[in-house]
Amino acid sequence: MPDIFKSKNSGKKLRVALTGNPNVGKTSLFNALTGSRQHVGNWPGVTVEKKTGTLKHEGFEIEVIDLPGTYSLTAYSPDEIVARDYIIEEKPDVVIQVLDATNLERNLYLTTQLLELGAQVLIALNMTDLAEERGDSIDIQKMEEFLEVPVVKTVAREEKGIPALLDAVLRTAGKEHVHKIGYGNALESKIGEIMTLLSEDTGLKAAYPLRWLSVKLLEGDENAFGKIKGRPVESKVRKLLDSEDMAFFEAEMADQRYETISCLTALISKKPERVLEPSDLIDRVLTSKKLGIPIFLALMWGAFDVTFTFGTPFMNIIDSFFGWLSGVVSTNVSNPWLSSFLGDGIIGGVGSVILFLPNILLLFLMLSILEDSGYLARAAFVMDRLMYSIGLQGKASIPMLMGFGCTVPAIMATRTLESPRDRLLTILVTPFMSCGARMPVYVVLAGTFFGESAGSVIFAIYILGIMVAIFSAKLLGSTVLKGEVSPFIMELPPYRLPSPKTSLLHMWENGSMYLKKAGTIILAGVVLVWLAASLPVGVEYGSESSLIGSLGHFLEPLVAPLGFDWKVAVALVFGFVAKEVVIGSLGVLYGAGEDESAIMAGMQADPALDPVIAFGLMVFTLLYVPCVATVGVIKKETGSWKWTLFSAAYGTTLAWIFAFLIYQGSRILGWT
């Protein structure tokens, strides 16, 4: 039992875990509690996100751990196991369950399980404003009496009820309270028998609430059996349970739980007859057969339009800042080596990445707003038919959309897909959705060689990426990843006005991964490029006789059939660091640095480049091995080098074939 005076948190520290069903406002509450004092990491061993934050209240330092949103604490998914193991093993001082006041019945199922776990539960009855608006009334006092835990009303989105909740946290911490659900005589005597067996094992007794463990064993929970595995009591428990009809017990227990819950809901809440809500009316339009997809496409177009319209001024500011900075460096640093290192290497390289941060953040902001408003779940529904036809389910469309921003968070977003096959397939096709970092390559190349029609050419590249993703999903889904599309179920939360704070934090979570990449991997990458372009000592920067030049000449035969010369080969090699480096490297090789117009002039004057080759290069950049940060995240999320290498080799092979067809095709047709 947690006791603040005995536990390792003695003094004025408390640990509070947040739990609750998905879509109950848990994230809003977490943000309201901790603000920007958050840390996002991973739970050890699994790819489930772990968020923690701290706050101070009445002299107590409170650490808040945001557990994954779950419907229950069985062992259905890694999320549930993480949440459950944390409560059992780490014994937080208080577990706050966030409850959706508009949907008590389903939410209370989790409450009964938390109580059974012996956690010190505190209920944050959230969205009470919505419940009251539609005429529900909830008797909080009766609820507290029945559940024997404190209940506090909150409206997390508007940060209402937070002080009262924190006061309740202090009151709840350190209390000892065990709450039982009665399962009826027959079941209770079975639970008693198992408990007697388990209590022989002092180790188990110290580690787990025995009643809970007994209940879970009786239910046939595999994870619970894992906890007694290899212990002397295991065989005794199995023997006892083998003689029983397990299926009967399981169904009976679930029934009892539901009965408790319906009894409670009848007691504490009065609901008016459900009438058509505004959400239903909006859904009639947004999910309709005829309008669903056009509206989806229009919203996406709008999101991109806003991104590029509002992002450009910010980009110009950042661009001139880095221009100014490299000017300062070149006038003030007299040592030519150091000056070149700082100016060409660090500022040029990192600057080219930071440059696209506004666009990426804006796109993620748009997606966050769409998600927080409830629309993105509808998008998954609208897209399901289309996705199904290419061998994926609707939910896969969300990571693919994020792929237009940055592939790294997009691949992490595939975690919402339950089936490993669907998830792997989505991970393999997401890199073909053209990310923000590839944009600068298109802008410079199309701007140089296609003049007026540059916009259409870039649009065509994006479409090609989508087509390749579709084709790949179909191809891989019917060969190496054969299997049924897993059945999908997804909650459609009521539409809400997104809160700026939540949307901004959400955006920052995704966008900061891009920034982190700029600070670490890309910095290392540009240093490498700079070194290779400057060595051996005395060579002209980026010339044919430098290391970079030798590398280019060495690789030239491989890309010669695509019409690429040694400079392009070098740029592509360094593009593995980050795709925007393709342009940065060409800048170095044309002796133009980061100055776009100089790069353009240099390329235009080079007889080795023409519009067809430039188009081939754009396509190659779109399709070939994603950047090193993406490859890293693919390895982490798939847990397999085999699939990581497959992903890299598959993309690069496709890129080569496409560029080959473009170059050779145009030669046969006599265009070049």
């Binding site: 419907y71 229950s72 259905y76 508009t102 057969k289 038919r385 059945p487 999908f488 997804m490 459609l492």
Partner: protein
């Protein structure tokens, strides 16, 4: 009482009552926890285009066709 059928065949707007789930243990339990419990009324708000939008216990879910085939419902008397 009408005969039972998969949820995916229930016409748009109609209300059915859950009478069984043809799925493995884990999935059955998950659906149960999400509110698809015996005798609970389910309304199909949108169907016929692959996935369905259904209303259960005041919650709205998008269900894939495959999933909707696993949930058996009875045509309920509540439809006028």
């Amino acid at each position: 009482m009408g005969s039972s059928m998969p949820l995916s065949l229930l016409p748009e707007g109609k209300i059915g009552r859950v009478c069984g789930i043809n799925a493995g243990k884990k999935l059955s339990r998950r659906l149960f926890e999400m509110g698809f419990a015996p005798d609970v009324p389910v309304q199909v708000q949108r169907g016929n285009c692959g996935a369905l939008v259904v209303l259960v216990n005041g919650m709205k879910y998008a269900l894939g066709r495959g999933m909707a085939f696993k949930i058996m419902v009875r045509d309920s008397q509540e439809n006028e």
